[in-house]
């Protein structure tokens, strides 16, 4: 019995020593990590950098491959949410634009799906270094963006009565000269006591050229697409009547198009 206890004690001592060695003295190294393990704020920075690099290079397959390291089932909504978050936190608008554009282009579905991210099979035994596959640089497919020097024109301005919207909205759709939706267009909204802005492409499920802004009933708004020299003034949530005769505030739909040069 005494021997048995001594053995158990020796085993426990060994176990404790082993764990102390593995967890404290020589733990699995923090080197050779992958982007997926980054802390949330670093991850947000990393995702933004992917979008900014994509914005500069237009290389969607490479952006997809970079995003694949995070193993998101669908990165577009995550990028969209990050764009809105960064915009709200006062980060440069160019970052929000880049994130929105990448989200929109991913949703548009151009380019081949990326191969899965390299995985680390067992902690402590990192896989061999990922070989940097020389990218053959296919012709980049990008979401059309506004061309400087060609101001957008207001195409249509329609009141919208849609009870399904749930709240009065200023809806904006922006298309280029070819009729293709344009993501990342900035829209300024000004009213008596304040101003705000939003971008198209932050709700890619509604269209990459679409953006909206919640209207407060009774407030008169002026709206201008930054890439347009044509402000739209005097917009206010009108009154709509539902099928059951209840009244609710209506919305506006503005469509802008870049004229052909």
């Amino acid at each position: 019995m005494k021997t048995f206890l001594a053995l158990i004690l020796a085993f426990a001592l060994g176990l404790g020593g082993g764990l102390a060695y593995a967890w404290a003295i020589n733990p699995v190294s923090y080197t050779d990590t992958s982007p997926a393990s980054l802390r949330d704020d670093f991850r947000a920075d990393y995702l933004t950098l992917i979008a900014v690099a994509y914005d500069a290079s237009g290389d969607l397959p490479r952006a997809r491959a970079r995003l694949a390291q995070f193993a998101y089932a669908d990165p577009a909504p995550i990028l969209t949410a990050l764009a809105q978050q960064r915009l709200g936190q006062g980060w440069p608008e160019s970052q929000a634009r880049a994130l929105a554009r990448l989200a929109a282009d991913l949703t548009a579905g151009s380019g081949a799906p990326a191969s899965p991210a390299p995985t680390t099979a067992v902690a402590g035994t990192p896989t061999p270094a990922r070989t940097a596959t020389p990218v053959p640089s296919p012709a980049p497919t990008r979401t059309p963006t506004s061309t400087p020097g060609a101001p957008f024109r207001l195409l249509t301005q329609e009141p919208v009565c849609d009870p399904d919207l749930g709240q009065p909205l200023l809806q904006v759709e922006v298309v280029d000269a070819a009729g293709q939706p344009v993501a990342g267009s900035e829209v300024r909204v000004v009213w008596d006591t304040g101003q705000d802005h939003f971008f198209t492409g932050l709700k890619p499920d509604l269209g990459i050229g679409y953006g909206d802004f919640r209207l407060t009933p009774g407030v008169v708004y002026s709206v201008q697409l930054v890439d347009s020299d044509q402000p739209v003034t005097g917009l206010t949530a009108g009154e709509c009547v539902a099928d059951d005769s209840t009244r609710y505030p209506g919305s506006w739909l503005l469509r802008f198009q870049q004229p052909a040069r």
Partner: protein
């Protein structure tokens, strides 16, 4: 050797064996079954290929924005090394691993800009 000495020796061997087995189990558990988890890491701990790709992204952004200070801030996330050293290391890795000519030129453009820039005040990692 006396009988009680043999018995004591056997006991010591058994104890050492138990100690060794316990230690082995502990190490296996600590390294394989329940290792230190990779969470909340910083870009500075990224593997060399990911670090290189990070620097490349910074260089691509710099190529479009021409904002050296922003590039330096982004590079500061990778650690306390001088930004130009980080880019040089990335260039070396890129050359060794067959990155495209365009990538090498993009990296080189940032390296040249960093080298030609006046020494900047220390930049805090974001």
């Amino acid at each position: 050797m006396h009988r009680h000495e043999v018995r004591a020796l056997k006991a010591i061997v058994r104890l050492l064996t138990a100690l060794f087995v316990g230690a082995a189990v502990g190490v296996i558990y600590g390294w394989v079954v329940q290792p230190v988890r990779y969470i909340d890491t910083a870009p500075g701990s990224l593997r060399a290929d990911y670090r290189t790709d990070y620097v490349l992204m910074v260089a691509q952004a710099y190529a479009a924005e021409q904002d050296l200070q922003t590039a330096q801030v982004r590079l500061a996330s990778l650690g306390p090394q001088a930004p130009s050293d980080l880019v040089t290391a990335a260039l070396t890795y890129a050359v060794d691993h067959g990155f495209t000519r365009a990538d090498l030129e993009t990296l080189n453009q940032l390296a040249v800009a960093l080298r030609s820039a006046a020494p900047a005040a220390e930049i805090q990692a974001p």
